[in-house]
Symmetry: none
Subunit: 226 residues, 2 copies
DNA sequence: ACCAAGCTTTAAGTTAATTGTAATGTAACA
DNA sequence: TGTTACATTACAATTAACTTAAAGCTTGGT
């Protein structure tokens, strides 16, 4: 399995090759771009876990790539700079780079910085199609929910609510958060609709299978846990 | 208002003074320690936004301080190293330092790295969702409190109060401050509600686990400390 | 266009837990 | 030893959540 997807934006061929080989040897999946503009395009068009970005680049310099990238993305960035000038370093960090390396550098150091940057990754589950808690499975593609091997009949709202709960299992969700994510309400004066749907889910899950998955956290909200 | 609370652990007096003055000039609140062991103690006893940690220290070296700190805290750490050896840098990053500087360095660069590290304070950073004192951990996302690995059942008020106490561990909090932050009362003529809830917490923590975390400071207020 | 069926929402009554008050007991300080 | 500050407890008031039923929507079929 890949350790992570890395985008390498570097114009000097020798350095690029070298880094690429080392990264792949460590188990990362690497894509490359040779100039700033195409690097930015690729960075915005796909999901990478990390971007390694040279400061000196044709067509659009690294600082500018970073600045524009940061308007739309929080992907961690490690900058590479040939110049040992403080101004560049300072700027890079202030714009939003997570780290930088001064060329020449030892590959071991780059690898350590990559590990450090990736460690910060949010654990937010990506777009998994099958999610579950205990014996309760929810398949997002098939729009199907099963407990053990029995299939549950859920309405769309019930399904959406359960999906949101499972995606955030273990953490407490406020009614407001649920209303916003599942119902799309920004704010609603007074409604107990969430409570009612929680009741419906409890009827179809907790009551029916005599488990306690849906927990009330009084004064706060609801939480799914085993 | 303070830009953030920084703990500076450095034994060389000249360097320490210099960094301290610069940081205070930038608006940070700075506390200092001169050796590894007392630095670690202070780091664990209070909440800092950032720790600057020298590698070469008396009594407990920086690497070891970092390693032990990481067992209980996610506070960002910037390491200072006199030696330009990669191994040290690599180790520091792998153990969990967020960044490092090689001495001598330009103060501007340190300031930029501090800004970068503090910017990382994400809303969902572990340091913000999980706080603790000793074996008592409070997770704000999960709305869960544990002592060792036992889970405590707290009501919302108890939880909010404990959260406020832990966030300000080591500091004496007046009843008025507690009322304002936890209850939202601006002023209340006469109530002993804080005392009552302190009692509830003591019943569930100090009494149950036979520790003394919640201390009364007669004439002033309450304080959480080990 | 109308109806039926199922889904969604509101609302009201009920139950349960938390919260705050107040009265009484205990320890600290002068 | 008197006085003040804090600790403790019981209970009543308050607030939050649960449950149910009925009203309001949608959707698909005729």
């Amino acid at each position: 399995m890949s350790q992570g997807r890395i985008l390498l934006i570097e114009d000097e061929t020798k350095i690029r090759r070298f880094i690429q080989l080392e990264l792949e040897h460590e188990g990362y999946t690497v894509e490359e771009e040779q100039d700033g503009r195409s690097g930015l395009d690729k960075a915005l068009s796909k999901n990478f876990d990390l971007i390694i970005l040279d400061v000196m680049l044709p067509s659009l310099n690294g600082m500018e790539v970073l600045r524009r990238l940061r308007q739309n993305s929080q992907t961690p960035v490690i900058m590479l700079t040939a110049r040992d000038e403080i101004t560049d370093k300072v700027m890079g960090l202030d714009i939003g780079a997570d780290d930088y390396m001064t060329k020449p550098f030892a590959i071991e150091e780059l690898l350590a910085r990559i590990r450090a940057a990736l460690k910060h990754r949010r654990v937010d589950a990506p777009s998994l199609t099958a999610i579950q808690i205990g014996s309760l499975k929810l398949n997002r593609n098939r729009h199907q929910v099963t407990y053990g091997d029995e299939e549950l009949e859920l309405t769309k709202r019930e399904f959406d609510l359960l999906e949101y709960l499972i995606l955030n299992k273990g953490i407490v969700l406020t009614r407001d958060a649920i209303l916003e994510k599942v119902w799309g309400y920004d704010f609603m004066g007074d409604t107990n609709i969430v409570d009612v749907y929680i009741r419906y889910l409890r009827g179809k899950i907790d009551d029916k299978y005599q488990v306690k998955l849906i927990h009330t956290v009084r004064g706060v909200g609801y939480q799914l846990k085993l």
